[in-house]
Assembly symmetry: C2
C-alpha cells in the first residue's frame, strides 16, 4: 500500500495525498476528507525511509555509549531514557557501543554505522571515552556530557560535579572525619579524573587536608569497588570515611565491609555516586550523590536537538549533582 494506491482509491493525484499527509492547508477540505477516509480504511502509514530519502532528513540521531562497566544499571538507563525522549520528539535512535566486546575497532564501526544511517546528530554519552571518539571524521552536530574541556564545535552538557561533592565532604567534615578516602575509577577515563578533581576541590573548600594514600584506583564496577575497599582497609591507617566514584563500586565496597564484620553508617562512613534506585534498598540505605541518567539523557537530547535545528538561543544546559543523605555515614570511629 502506497501513496499512489491511496490516490487511486480517493480519485485524486498522489501529490494531493502527500499534501494531506503533510497537512498542507491549501488542500480542499472535501478532498482532504476523502483522502483521510481512505487512509483510515486501509490503515495506511507512510514509508519512513522513502520520506527520509526524499526529504534528505533521516530523523535519526546516534547515541554512543561505552558500557564497559559490566551490568551497571546507569548505562542501560541512559539508553532507555534517551530513546524515550527521542521518540517523543519524533526521532529514531541508533545506539552504538564503543567497546571492544563488540568489535576491535569501535570507533570505525560507530562512524560507519552513523554515517550510513545519515544520523542528523550524535550524542556521545560514554563519560570518559569522548577523547578517543573525537577522531570521528563526522560532519553532523555532536553533543558530549561532562567533557572536561570544551572541544571545538562540540556542544557539551556541563556537569557540575562539585556541587554534590562539596555537600558530601562538608557533611563528613562536620562529622569530624580527618581521614577521608576515595574509591576512584581508573583515571584513564576523563570523567573519573573530573570526579577526582571535584573531590579534591571540595576538600580544599572544606579546609580538609587530602591524603593521596587514601585513594584507591580500581575498576568502576561492583567487583572493582569490593577490591578497592579491601585495599583501603588493608592500609596501616585506613580512612574513616570513603567516597566512591559510583554506586556500584560503593555497593561492592559495602560487601567487603560486611565480609570483615564492619558496618557502613556505624564503623565507617560510605558515600556513593549516581543515586541508583538500589541505594534506597541497601542495608544501610546508601548516602550518595545524585547523577540521574534520566535527566542527563534528557539534557543531552535537548542539546542535540538545538544543534540540529540550529537554534539561535541555546539553553544553558548544566546538570548539577546533588548530595542525597541516607544512612551510610556516621562519625569517625576510634580504631
Amino acid at each position: 500500500m502506497n501513496i499512489r494506491e491511496i490516490a487511486k482509491r480517493a480519485r485524486v493525484s498522489h501529490s494531493t495525498v502527500s499534501r494531506v499527509i503533510n497537512q498542507v492547508d491549501t488542500v480542499d477540505p472535501r478532498l482532504a476528507r476523502r483522502v483521510q477516509a481512505v487512509i483510515q480504511e486501509v490503515g495506511y502509514r507512510p514509508n519512513f525511509q522513502a520520506r527520509a530519502l526524499a526529504r534528505g532528513r533521516s530523523h535519526t540521531v546516534g547515541l554512543i555509549v561505552s558500557e564497559l562497566s559490566g551490568g551497571n544499571p546507569f548505562f542501560s538507563e541512559i539508553i532507555l531514557y534517551f530513546e524515550r525522549v527521542a521518540v517523543e520528539h519524533g526521532y529514531e535512535v541508533l545506539v552504538s557501543f564503543a567497546d571492544k566486546e563488540t568489535h576491535p575497532d569501535p570507533v570505525t564501526v560507530c562512524a560507519s554505522r552513523m554515517q550510513e544511517r545519515q544520523v542528523e546528530g550524535i550524542a556521545t554519552l560514554t563519560f570518559g571515552m569522548e577523547e578517543q571518539l573525537a577522531k570521528f571524521p563526522i560532519s553532523v552536530p555532536m553533543v558530549y556530557a561532562g567533557a572536561d574541556h570544551d572541544l571545538q564545535g562540540v556542544r557539551n552538557v556541563r556537569i557540575n560535579y562539585l556541587s554534590g561533592f562539596r555537600d558530601a565532604v562538608k557533611h563528613l567534615v562536620e562529622f569530624g572525619h580527618q581521614r577521608i578516602g576515595y574509591l576512584s575509577g581508573q583515571l584513564g577515563w576523563s570523567s573519573m579524573r573530573t570526579r577526582f578533581e571535584a573531590l579534591r576541590k571540595a576538600m580544599k573548600l572544606a579546609g580538609a587536608s587530602f591524603d593521596k594514600d587514601l585513594v584507591a584506583e580500581c575498576d568502576h564496577t561492583w567487583d572493582g569497588g569490593a577490591q578497592g575497599m579491601a585495599t583501603l582497609l588493608n592500609l596501616p591507617k585506613p580512612p574513616t570515611a570513603v567516597l566512591c566514584c559510583n554506586d556500584v563500586a560503593a555497593v561492592g565496597a559495602l560487601k567487603t565491609l560486611a565480609s570483615r564484620g564492619l558496618q557502613a553508617g556505624k564503623d565507617v562512613a560510605l558515600i556513593g555516586f549516581d543515586d541508583l534506585t538500589i541505594c534506597r534498598f541497601m542495608q544501610p540505605a546508601l548516602t550518595t550523590i545524585q547523577f540521574s541518567p534520566r535527566e542527563i539523557a534528557g539534557l543531552a537530547f535537548r542539546a542535540l536537538l538545538e544543534e540540529i535545528q540550529a537554534t539561535k538561543e541555546k539553553s544553558n544546559l548544566e546538570y548539577k549533582t546533588k548530595f542525597v543523605l541516607r544512612e551510610s555515614t556516621c562519625a569517625p570511629r576510634a580504631q
Copy 2:
C-alpha cells in the same frame, strides 16, 4: 557523496559501483580496485535508507518492551542485549515502549511506528502484556517469550519456569519448611500467572502443601516487594520461607525484613527471581532463580531471525530457569 559521484571519479557507471559495493564477483578485478580506491579515498558509505527502499528490506526489527516496573534493571538489560545481538547481525532495532507513561494508546503507537519503519519482524518482550498487543494488525513475523499459550502464527521462546522453581522448592523443603509463602506480581500479567502456576506445580511435585493465604499479590517493583513482605509478616502465622516473583521485589522484601530486625538467611528464608547482578552484593547474598535478560534477548532475536529468513529447520528454543544458591535461605525458625 553518492554512488554516481564515485562512478564519475572511477570512470565507470554507477551500476558497476553498486556491484563492487555488493561484492558481485563478476566484476573485472581492475575496475573493482579502481572503485575501491575511490571509495576509500573519499570515505564513502552507502546510504542505508536508499538501500532499504530499493531492496524493499528495511533491515530493521522492532522490540516492544513494557518497562512498567520503575527502574528494574532487567528490562533495560533486555533492550541493551537485544540491540547488541541485532547489530551484530546487521539489523537495526526500533524500541517501542508499550506503557501508558509515553502515550494513552500504546498499542496504536507501537503499531504505527513499526509499520512506518517497515520492520521485518517484531519481538514482544513484555512478559505479560503480550495479549493486549496481540490486537496488533501486523503482517510481519512476531516473536514472544514465555507466552503462556501458543498463539497462532506467533513464535514463542518457551520459558521453563518450573525447572528453577522445582529446585528452589526442593531446597526449602529439605530445610524442613512447611509454611512457604510467595510474593507474586499482579496476576493480571500473564507471566506472573505463569510463575505462580510453576510454583504451585513445584510445590505439588515436592509433596508440599500450598497455603493460598501465604501468597501476597503486589507490584513487581522494589516498593511493591517491600509492601508485600510487610503483608506477609503481619499474618497471624507468617511464612518461614518466601519466594518472590522477581529480584527487585525480593530486595524490597529484604528492606522490610531489616526494618523489623529480621534477617533473611537466619530468621526467614528468601528467594528471588532473575539473578540480577545486585543479588551477589546484597547482605546476605540473595539466593535466586536465574532468568538471564542477556540469554533471553539472544534467544528471542534468534527466533525472530529464523522467522524472517523463513528458516526450514527451526531451532527448539527454550530458556531454562536455574536455581542459584547463595546465602538468603535457612531452616525454619521457631516463632
